[in-house]
Symmetry: C2
Subunit: 347 residues, 2 copies
């Protein structure tokens, strides 16, 4: 039975939920999944850091107060985020990277991934930044160092989408996809269908904690654009940069547009899409699209996310589910570890 030593980089909601899962389920995983996990390091810009090569108590970590430097209150902890030391020198086999997404240069998460892969450690991450901006480099680095680099949660949180397409739809010759890849903007559109104006709908999303104080990453499509780059590069073997993807959000949609769509048996959705062209190139865009009510994505309401893959053999195959949530995203990290375990176990 394999025991993986795990270092948690970034200890916000996601890695905290992973610690909670480990506290509750690690014993069961030994028989169910064929491995168990031992946390040997934690580091976080706000909370500090802690290394425990013999294993840290996952339950204690999960319940850690969210106060500055809290890790320094535990034996051996420090208020400093010793990221490089925790990644390279805690004895971890796997680095679970769940820091914030930086859409400009993917830092510091990209450096965290790079350090880990260069040190021969597997990396699982839920962070869009490193994958969308530096995915090819990091994948090559993982390959060179014979370690796994998994990032299922970077697109739709715990809802499987990358592995669904690459594994269960292998050989189906996927030639494009359309997705509702941002729960906040979809929630705003659902509210507008209920009669709220755009500004009011955004305010409601903010009150419910769906939208940031500055909602532009969500409603202007920038968040979706990163996910489109990840999916297109992964599934269509594209080599897209973020700037290759045209991007238009939903802020120009009016209640009139929404009402007119309804009369026509259709709905406006913010869609991220990519298609393989006749010449083999891949074109991708983010834009509001008017979907007829019988389109597989038309009924995806509220904060749910969905992707519809098209292939000449199957037509449309669509998966929908949560696109966010701390426990859902922590599950994505677990699913990455399950995947790397099956690869490691058979090689």
């Amino acid at each position: 039975m394999t025991e993986y030593k795990l270092a948690l980089v970034g200890f916000g909601g996601v890695n905290r939920a992973l610690a909670q899962l480990i506290a509750e389920r690690n014993e069961g995983w030994k028989t169910e999944l064929g491995f168990s996990l031992k946390i040997v390091g934690v580091t976080d810009l706000f909370l500090g850091s802690l290394v425990g090569r013999e294993g840290l108590d996952a339950g204690v970590l999960a319940r850690l107060p969210s106060v500055k430097g809290a890790l320094a209150q535990l034996p051996g902890g420090t208020v400093e985020a010793l990221n490089e030391a925790v990644i390279k020198d805690s004895g971890a086999d796997i680095i679970a990277e769940a820091t914030f997404t930086n859409p400009v240069d993917g830092e510091p998460a990209t450096s965290f991934c790079r350090w880990a892969l260069e040190a021969g450690k597997h990396v699982v991450t839920t962070n869009k930044g490193p994958i969308a901006l530096h995915g090819a480099e990091l994948k090559a680095l993982a390959l060179r160092n014979k370690v796994a680099f998994e990032y299922e949660g970077s697109v739709m949180s715990g809802t499987p989408v990358i592995r669904l397409a690459k594994q269960t739809l292998a050989g189906s010759a996927i030639n494009g996809f359309e997705g509702i890849l941002n729960g906040t903007s979809n929630f705003v559109l659902t509210c507008m269908e209920g009669g709220l104006g755009f500004a009011e709908a955004v305010r409601q999303a903010q009150e419910l904690g769906y939208a940031e104080a500055d909602p532009s990453a969500d409603v202007e499509g920038y968040d979706v654009r990163l996910k489109v780059v990840i999916l297109a590069n992964e599934l269509l073997d594209a080599k897209l940069q973020v700037s290759d993807v045209s991007c238009q959000g939903i802020s120009a949609l009016t209640l009139d547009d929404i009402a007119k769509a309804r009369q026509e048996g259709a709905r406006w959705k913010l869609i991220g899409a990519a298609t393989r062209q006749a010449d083999g190139s891949v074109s991708a865009r983010v834009e509001p699209r008017l979907l007829r009510n019988d389109h597989p994505l038309a009924a995806i309401s509220g904060a749910t996310n969905a992707v519809s893959f098209t292939s000449p053999l199957l037509g449309a195959v669509t998966v929908s589910g949560p696109g966010a949530g701390r426990m859902e995203t922590a599950y994505a990290l677990l699913s990455d570890i399950i995947s790397l375990h099956s690869t490691v176990a058979t090689h």
Copy 2:
């Protein structure tokens, strides 16, 4: 590079479409999938049989006229369906079983699977009968003989559902599912929402080729029941027999019921469902359910199928896509071969 020798048992639409895929794509699969396929035998109750250990021309087979004994027109062919000889003695590594579903005892398909597994051959099948009625026995037989037994297409044709749940949702602790697992009955309900009475809607389904002359397997839920047994046994580790699943179809639904549902913001759907109970047992049923419009299955219209899995970690994750079609179902056989190749390659 691996070349698998394939025998096709039952040469109706599905295996014929597989022959067509092989004719068109075999060369590409060598690099894309790491294997190629060579057809060494075909047998069919209506068309006769043919063995060609050096490889049969997939394109010729795909274009074979659908006339009685047609395989006898090819060199070495015979009007007799020499099923046992083709399965055991054609030199095949893999048997692709795609004969008709017998919901009573699963024959003759179950015997075909048994012969193949006992002879140490991998089996891929799209046939509900053997899996729903004799799945545990056949899986044990495959395990004993160290061969693969794959049947993704038995539930939703080419739309991945078994592997989606077992592989991409591993560790999510799925505790139940609801599915729209019969395209004909769903098409009938969609027609009824358009104002057609039940009998008229069935007639329209028959005219379009969706429904059999005797539509009862579809509209009374018997087809769905077989699929519920397969999914519950596979994903919830249940040990259900077909008779354990209560079954009620849609023939008692009236246009009044449908209209009343619409007024309440809901839709009637024929649902196959299973749930793990508090005591660990699994209860399963087939019945019309009134789904609120925001239910993940409410918008699944026409001949599309869908399954929504529930788990404590993720809530609902839903997959939808084609539930029938010759090419779609042939893809399911290919996906089974891809899966067995990845297992064989790493063991």
